[in-house]
Subunit: 193 residues, 2 copies
Amino acid sequence: MNFLEERIKKDGIVKPGNVLKVDSFLNHQMDIALLNEIGREFHRRFADKPITKVLTIEASGIAIAYPVANEFGVPLVFAKKSKSVNIEGDMYVAEVESFTHKNKNQVIVSKKFLSAEDHVLIIDDFLANGCALQGLISIAEGAGATIEGLGIAVEKGFQIGGRVIRNLGYRLESLAIVDAMDAETGEITFRAQ
Amino acid sequence: MNFLEERIKKDGIVKPGNVLKVDSFLNHQMDIALLNEIGREFHRRFADKPITKVLTIEASGIAIAYPVANEFGVPLVFAKKSKSVNIEGDMYVAEVESFTHKNKNQVIVSKKFLSAEDHVLIIDDFLANGCALQGLISIAEGAGATIEGLGIAVEKGFQIGGRVIRNLGYRLESLAIVDAMDAETGEITFRAQ
């Protein structure tokens, strides 16, 4: 087990309905030392890529993406979720349909901050059905940027998102892939990587 | 002028209606080196305080609070904005009325992550009417925590928020206080501190 899998095993809480709570260290209260370690690990994994921007989505994605951008020494851009159709200024917009919530949201990034010259590393904390990540890919592709890879802290391997994105040919690195969870025993099974 | 005032002068854009755009370096695209400097500055200003938690609010607050929590070596907790009245679990809730948008929002933090033992530093990127900050204060007070201070990157000194919070007796440190802006000339007047 790597450092993140160990931490999930120690402090993650399995709830009925395949819910994994990591809110004591990853996405509500944040352990900065752990996040800094995540930043170093993604930097190590994508060190061969000429990254110019780290792209994430609000809100909890920002805390994972910060240390990654810090390691690469590049700007961090975060996409905003918006329900409004009235976007002021010049924005890249992706319509994202939520598999879970059965509704549509817009994900927006100002055109000032992504261009065809950019080599983008997309970062987020969680990957399940991949709706948010597909929106970020759509925005980066729309900008003509090169997507050098995607880095996820926790992937739910039994949901469709990871498979879809790998099938599309993107290099997706998840630090922990949860293949099964048992709410009765609290047991979490990680995919061997 | 300090480093943040200089950067605002260089890259901030004044728009009609007293709008100050700092989205190229502070709250949409983020200059991580600048944010790290902000983290060091708040650490210097509150070094005499026994901070145990940094508290902020999603989304852009997270990127300011991250380097501050990193400097203090303490966890970062971010409050979530919620429109729903149906809060699952045990949450501190503040009802926040937006002066600008004339609507009410809830700001929530899990009770697991704030307690009477905590010494809290509240951090946010912007202070105008102070609605969000008042919600964070209400939550920290509700937890019985000690609010050691509040740190803001950019305060609009001509709006009411800063005065209200200082009048309440809190120690509020804003790295840049904008006292006036001119959309015609682009000129920004900072308060001497």
